[in-house]
Each structure stands twice: as C-alpha cells, then as structure tokens.
Symmetry: C2
Subunit: 513 residues, 2 copies
Amino acid sequence: MKGWRPASCVAPPYDAASRRHFTSSRALLRQATIADVLRSNAQQDEIEVNGWVRSVRKQKRIAFVHVGDGSTTEPLQAVLKPEQAADLSYGTAISLKGLWQASTGGKQSHELQVSTIRLLGENNAESSPLQPKYQTAEFLRTIPHLRPRIPTNALLLRLRSHVIATITRFFNDEGFVQTHTPIITSSDCEGAGEVFAVSSNASKESDQKLRPESEGQVEHFFRSPKYLTVSAQLHLEALAQAVEKVWTLSPTFRAEHSDTPRHLSEFYMLEAELCFVEDMASVMDLVERMLRTVAINLTLSSLGRELAQSKHWLDMPAIEDAQRASDQDLLQKRWKGMAAENWPRITYDNAIQHLQTAASEGKITFVFKPTIEDGLQAEHERYLAQSIGQGKPVFVTDYPMDQKPFYMPPSTATINSEGTSDTAACFDLLVPDLCELVGGSMREHRSEDLLAAMQRKGVMGESLEWYQDLRKYGSVPHGGFGLGFDRLLCYLSGVGSVRDIVAFPRWYGRCDC
Amino acid sequence: MKGWRPASCVAPPYDAASRRHFTSSRALLRQATIADVLRSNAQQDEIEVNGWVRSVRKQKRIAFVHVGDGSTTEPLQAVLKPEQAADLSYGTAISLKGLWQASTGGKQSHELQVSTIRLLGENNAESSPLQPKYQTAEFLRTIPHLRPRIPTNALLLRLRSHVIATITRFFNDEGFVQTHTPIITSSDCEGAGEVFAVSSNASKESDQKLRPESEGQVEHFFRSPKYLTVSAQLHLEALAQAVEKVWTLSPTFRAEHSDTPRHLSEFYMLEAELCFVEDMASVMDLVERMLRTVAINLTLSSLGRELAQSKHWLDMPAIEDAQRASDQDLLQKRWKGMAAENWPRITYDNAIQHLQTAASEGKITFVFKPTIEDGLQAEHERYLAQSIGQGKPVFVTDYPMDQKPFYMPPSTATINSEGTSDTAACFDLLVPDLCELVGGSMREHRSEDLLAAMQRKGVMGESLEWYQDLRKYGSVPHGGFGLGFDRLLCYLSGVGSVRDIVAFPRWYGRCDC
C-alpha cells in the first residue's frame, strides 16, 4: 500500500520472562536490569547494562565504577580502563558492554569487565544539589525531583509498587471490583475537615492572584462550589450496591494547617465497601486478611530482603527517626506481627479500663488521664498497641457515638429497645509506633435512622440527598474501611515521616515541583 | 489478660479459592456470588445467596423471582411460594436459602428452590428514579448513584476493574514501577490547557460564593497558586530517572468548556515513562504489547464473553450510539484488531499524502482539505484508522514540531546538521471510530535544546526549573506515552460516551453527586 512504511521494530509476542534474557539488540527496553544481572548465574557472558554512576574509584591502571539503575540498592561493579572512566562522575548515565566475570577481589562475587562504554547525557555533578554524602531529610524534601535517585529512596518507590500489586491481586482474588471514585465532589464525608475548593477562575495570565470574585454572582464551572474529596467512602457505598464488593486506591485531600510527620494535604487512601455484611467482624476479618497478605508477600520477596538487610537502609538520610531505624530487627518485628493470625479486638470501653488500670498500677504514666469522654490520645493508642498487641495490630471497637461521624450505626452489642446505643459499630486498627492505620465501621443502612443522625450531626443539605437515596431503594446492610496508604508504607519500611514516603509531598505551605 | 475480648470471628488463612465454597456461616462476605453459583455444577446443594430483585412474576401457587448481585448480567431464578414473594419489588435486597436444582422449564438450566427468604432493607420501588424499563442515557446521568445498579452498568464497573488488574499485572511483569504522581501541581504540562485552581479559601460557611479575595495580597495555602494536574508526565520523568521504568493510572483534569461525548473535566490517564530508550519504536512496541495483552485477556475472560454475548448489552439504555452497538460483531472486531500483531506505523507526512491521494481519487470526500499545515481533523483520523488499520490500531508518527509541545525532540529520521528538524519524535495511536487513544513521544533530554524549546514555546518560569534540572544531572534518553483510560474502556465496551463509562462523570456545568 502506498503511503505507509512497515513497522521498523516488530514487537515479539508478549512474554514476561523474555525481558530477563540478555540481548544486544537496540531494543534497550528489554535488556536485563542490574538486579537481574546480580541475581543471575550467567558467567563469562557478554552483557549490556544501563545505569547511573554511583561512585568512581580510579587507580593507575584500572578504574572501578559502581553503577545502579534503581532495580536494586546493590550496585554493579564495573571494571574499566582509566581512560574509559575519564568523564565519569557521580550521576552520569552510561551504557556498558562487557564480560560478566567472577570477581577476584572486593566483596562482590562478580564484576563487569567493560569493553565499551557510552555516555548518554549531560551531568554537572559538581553543581548538583544531590551529593553522594549525608544530606538531611529536610534538605532532600526541597528537591523531590532528584531525591528518588538515592538508591534507598528508589527502594521506597519499588515498595509502593510492590504493595499496590499485592493489594490489587488480593482484592481481585477476593472478588472485589476496583473502582475510580470522583476527586471533585460536592460532599464533605466527615462533615468536619477543612477542604480544598476547586475553581476554573484562575488562568495562566493572572498567575499571582485569583481573579476578584467579590462582585455580584460568582460563576462556577460546575454551577455550584466544588471541593477535592476527603474520602471515597460515600461514592463507594453507591457502587457497592451495584457489584456487592468494591475498593479503590485514590488520592484524598485535607486543607489542614497541621504540620506533623503523619499528615499531608494530599495522600492516598485505600478504601473498601462490602454489602450483605451484618457483622462488623467480617469487615475486620477482611482488613486482617489483606494486611496479612501484604506482610507475608513482603517478607517473602526479594524487595523485603533488601529492605531488611540493606546497610544503606540504616544510613538512609530520609529516615527521620534514626534511633528507631537503628533497631535492626524493627522491620522484621513489624512484618511478623502483621503476618500473625488472630489480632486482638478490644472494645473502646475495655480499652479505657485497661489504660486506667495500667495507670493506677503504675505501669505507665500518661500526660492525659484516660476517660471515656475525652477519647484516646496518641499516648493511649501507643500503649494499647504495645501492651495488648504484643507485636500484632490491635482493633479497638465500639467508640462512643458522639465521637464518630453521622454514617455510623449503633453497635448491635449495646443497642437498646429504641434501636439506639451510646456506642457505634466501628473500629480503629492500631499498630505499634504509628498508632491509627485503619478506620472502619458498619454504615447506617436504615433510611430514617440515617436521616435522624444527619440532623443530629448537622450535615444536612442538598449535596447529600443522593446519599440518603441509597437507603430508600433496595437498602442493604454494609460496612467498609479506609486505610492511610502512605502511612502503611511508612510502617512497613520504617520511614518516620510521610513526607519521605510520598514522592512529591504537599503540606501546608509546601508544594515543591 | 484483663480488658480485652478474644476475636469474635477469626479469619481463616487467606485462600482465594475458598471464597467459592458455599458456606452457611454468618461470615456472609465469603459466600458464593451469583456468578459462582450459575457457573458451578453444584446440584441438589443447599446454598445461600444475596442479591437484589430484578423482577418478580407471581402466579397462583408459585412466584418466580430474578435476582442479581452485580457479579454477572445473568440473573439467578429463584422459585418461591407466593406469600414469600409478597413484599418483593424491583430492587429489594434479599438473602435466600434453598436447594439449587435443575430447572424444569424456562431457559435457565438450574433454579433456586427457596426455603427461607429474608428482606434486608427498605425499598420504595414505586418512587425510585430507577425503573425496570428503558430510560435514556441523559436521564440516567442525572442519577449516577443509582445507575450502576442496572446490570449492564455494573458490567462496565467490572470491565474497568478487569482492565486495571490486567494492566497492573502487565507492567509488573515488565519490570515497571507503579507510582503515585501528585494531583496538586504548579506546572501545566501541555502549556495550553485550561486548568482548575485549588484553594483553601472556601469554607462550609461561605457555601454559596467564594470569599472576596480582591483586596490586597491573597494568602495561598501553598504560598503560590496551585492547579489540578493535567498530566503526570513531567513528574513521571523525574521518577523514571530513579527506577528506569515507571507508570501510573491517575486522575487528570481539564477545565475545558467542551461538551462532547469524548471529553470530561476529570478523567483517568494511564501514563508510562522509560529511560535508556533511544528509539521511539521501543515506546510504540510497549504500547502494542500492553494493549494486545488487554485485548487477549478480555477476549479469553468470562467477562469478555458477557460483554460480547449479552443481549442486555444491545438494549443497554446507556449506549448512546445505538446504531453502532447494533453491529453484533463490533466488539469482537475491535478486540481482534487490538489482539493482532504488527500494527501499521505511518509518518504524518505520508498520512497526509495518503489522505490527499484518497480524496483526489474520489475514494472519500473530506469537509477539511488535508494539508501538512492544518493538522489532522477527526474525519482524517477516522479515515486513516479505517483505510490503513484494516481493523488494527494505527500509529501516526513524526508530526510537525509546531503542532507539538515543548518537551518533544526532533525526529532522528529527519534531523539536520544543526540538530533540529521540522518534525517531532512523537506518535498518536488511532483506533477505528474513536480516533486518538494514545499519544507518546521521546522527551528532549538535552539540556540546552530543552531550554531553547521552552523559550520558543513561551513556557518558561520558576515552576518548571525542576524539570530542566532533570537534564542537568545524569540526563538520559527517554520516552513515554499517555493513554485516555476511560476512552479505552469505551472502545473495548462499545459505549459511545465517556459520560456513561465513568461512574460519576464531571463536565462543564455538571458534577452530580
């Protein structure tokens, strides 16, 4: 046919395994990663690898270059002639060809005897903000676009990917439907949080300030004010009534002015809802199964071994709390606890009693006295996780109704003859050090009771009429949970601040890149 | 230990297969779905299913009830005594127990002889906006919270989940790292699109209008104006330089006032970037492999069979273009084309020539004359997809530089001695009917050339300094692509408008629920 050329590079049929073969074709994409090479037993093989220079050590007749490509924290040692290494510096992108041979010295078993080297792009190593030395976490947060090039930060990217893949498989196997819930919404799920407003009235031209909107009627892009979602829950509840079991891993937003290592303005929440569930234990069972699967998969993976064994890890500048990270067994302890069965479940009332007893027996001193009315403080949660969990995560259930949002129904255990109760059918999951990781509950599915709760909590309004509808036409008992995904990654990795586990963190006053 | 109770319902060790077992425990979650039951050969078994009433047909001594739970478009037939069915209506949530037996009449092979039935919640069937009759797509868009309860709409939810799972596995197998790129950003990737601004200055109290901001200095939450991302590309490029190959499936936003079945204000983009790629063919190969995997997986899945075979599908109110959908073979044709190998690749210049030849030979009449300068119109793309693709998707490559954004480098094929060219190393992937599905390119990785291109295109500014940095410290040849995920689902399902494939669609003037 006139006017078109045949494909210049025909793709082979898809075969995941084939990317591990060492090829010398120009389809660089399908070459081996450095992790592949280091793990392979190939010897005396001609191979080709790409990567960035991690270090250069020049001797009189020989130069040793460590190369990484982010696939492992362990570098590949390349042996070059000094003249081949002349233009190399920290960070240079290179392509190497050579023989993969047993190493005669050093700690590595093999090394690459380089025949040809190719520099791939510019590198002003000296002026780079990123330097191969200790740099504080605070400083690195100012260069989030370069920070992931540190091998341990690259490892955190791979951890996120690994956990997403595990969870996607888990929910797929459990028959859950993964959904995309909206980001721009009318409703504020919790009825309390500070939200971000969305408008189309700022353009590139008025870059320095929003256009004056004080005069007359504001014209909204969506006809009324809209906000960035604080939770996918309400929308998930609607979708659950279509396919029974749904989940999502979506960005959520809070315009809070808080400045802690646990809070961001933009973060990922893993949320799930399931219908035909009449017992909250089923929801907690699901959380347990999911996190146990994550912990077991991580423990068994090569990535887990890298996380746990890497000495780099302990030196990692991005770890804020060096003291905690210095506990070499910390990660294994956390994973083991999460991989264990039968996590303790304790009611809020019993938890308070447990805390009061511990305080009166002098086992612990609290700043805040634990009482039913005042709620659990961080110090209380920490003690509960430690003393009751014994390494395992702990469910605290049945909190007082007045501490919880409008959509939570009364606990069935404490319900009275009028169908009400002082406690809600809800739970928090506490883990050592980090405290709250998951929050979940049954959802009020009785139309009139929901309406009454909304009136009581003052969250009425047109924007939630659709949510009430869900109870009118085929209402069904259901429950669900939300998990702070970035917090989970902090817990699994030992990273002390969510600002260092999120690639481009945003918080009050800070939105770099 | 005092103060805590043992777990009331201990989770069994995680085992995906076990959810298919029929149990009669109160852990309803792990019961069989209706799809499981219909596919099983269990007979004379006592089973328990949950679902919503799709139809009720009462006779003198017997009542037939069709039940669905969203796991399949096919309903389960339940046989009840008329008094058991007394309170049932369209939409009622029920739990049924009974014997699963061979059916004596009707088209179904088996039916459920119900022993006990339980109503689970309120159902005001008569006042429900959703009725078991034809309702227009336009009307259904006003009730997105109820719309997915229509079995064919539930099928679209499952399609999305299925394709996400396939793609997650594909990228995982290919060694790509899944990442979460930021939603709130400073930069406008394309340098042209209308963006949504984000601010924290709207509170619940001032619900009807934004606070006056015209006086003095505006105080920004993030210290300067921020926007909702229009593409993850720039951030992905940063992350690719850490782990070589990255991808994301993230929400993106456009504040365009366009009102077409192809555009939304909020939509999901699948984007990938790969380093150490010097030939754009590698990027196109990746797109081919990915979409081929999706098409093959869908074709082989039970979900695919449901999509292709379901008569419901053809009656589906949510399909806008009934004429197109009436082609029973349409979906199989599309999937077959996408599952085929060796998709045609044609340069833009040759494509224009092809169109001009076709027009001059009278094979087709265009409203717009095809010229190099004016770019491809939708009618041109449609003809290219048809005449060149012959059912397969078609790559059009090497568009004129002046039609493309600043980050695209010159095509290597046409580069001159000064390192410039009139055409960009880029491609669009066109599919029949829908036209553009994917856009990709190499990314300018040479620091000075990028700077010059940015100056030429007028996209300079502090907010993109970090992007220039990526070329200064270990720059590396790389490329990537973006795919409109919701459009892909439209193409795979035959749904004519993205407003019907997205659960809670947002477009100019419309943001329901």
